[in-house]
Symmetry: C2
Subunit: 212 residues, 2 copies
């Protein structure tokens, strides 16, 4: 995949003309396959990443390697963490995995700083990015602090449907991992939701029916 200016404008509107040119000039395109790890916990970050295509999943990892899903990044978004870490030459605190084949644009960290003072739109973009990620994190906290498993499951499925469509190719075990629960619990809860006609369960997939 290649990037041209129109392409960029669609994904990242409201940037300055010159900035698009710079991005095209200095950004390094990377293609990753579904399932690939984009960012490991503890990895030093040398560039900011803009998602051009595909869907990326962010996880938090615990000591024993259990992966807790925190949020998605999709085309037109930036990995705020990579921004902030990059700016301080620090290491990653999260795990990022491509859920689908994806294309990302890596911006070497030098430009990040430079553009920040040179282009007001870049500064706006970074700040907005941050705010959005922060909000996602707060929503995640709400879910685990205040909600029970069935509500969290509903919330989770809705997020998936929003990004991936009504037909989710996912296993019960996969959901359990993302929510840091266990397969049996998820299976039983899904059963209840099926009884309420919110969804239908198939092998290796779930079809979401509920509207609102």
């Amino acid at each position: 995949m290649t990037v041209d200016k129109n392409n960029l404008k669609q994904l990242f509107p409201d940037l300055e003309e010159d900035l698009y040119n710079e991005i095209i000039k200095h950004g390094i395109i990377k293609e990753v396959k579904a399932g690939d790890t984009l960012l490991k916990v503890g990895q030093t970050i040398r560039s900011t990443m803009l998602i051009l295509d595909g869907l990326v999943k962010l996880y938090r990892e615990d000591d024993e390697g259990k992966e807790f899903f925190i949020y998605h990044l999709d085309a037109g978004q930036a990995c705020s963490l990579s921004m902030v870490c990059a700016a301080k030459h620090e290491t990653s605190e999260v795990l990022a995995k491509a859920l689908t084949n994806a294309t990302v644009l890596a911006i070497p960290l030098g430009y990040m700083d430079q553009w920040m003072s040179k282009y007001k739109s870049w500064y706006q973009f970074v700040i907005t990015s941050y705010r959005n990620r922060f909000e996602e994190l707060l929503k995640t906290i709400d879910a685990i602090a205040f909600k029970s498993m069935d509500e969290r499951l509903e919330f989770y499925l809705k997020k998936q449907v929003e990004k991936l469509g009504n037909n989710l190719k996912i296993t019960h075990q996969g959901i359990a991992n993302d929510l840091n629960s266990s397969r049996e619990v998820i299976s039983r809860l899904l059963k209840k939701m099926e009884a309420k006609n919110w969804l239908t369960i198939h092998r290796n997939s779930i079809e979401w029916l509920k509207k609102d």
Copy 2:
């Protein structure tokens, strides 16, 4: 309380000379009393806040008004959320309360933008602030996603001790609220910790003994 440059330099090192002058010139000092609310959920934010003195507690609120503690801000820190919200004229997502009497410096949001491109040190400060808050949030997520109540309580008490000293003036109910648990549970867990000589329980206060 008033601010002079030396004062500022101690609290916020590594900023440019001119920037200190601007901060003093344009910042508005606000004194708040212990227990006061600095920021309500849903409130529109018009300025960025720098904490000059005292300790502020940040909460996330649920639909029924339950308050879940997320992190502290103390002197020398900035409310990142106020920064990001300010930049977009948006409303607050969190609740901030002064735990002690506190002094904050409000920077009208216009300067926030201006300084961002004018002073590299300001940009660095904002980004660093962000990163730190983000990390706190991730730690909070770790705690609730992966840990059990006793571990969370320990983690919580340690954070309090770090900020407030070994003698915590707090009730069991207060802790329960912060952790979104119930008084009885906290009482019982504290009992166990007392048996392990980690702390001693007094009426209205807890004395932390554990070293490491």
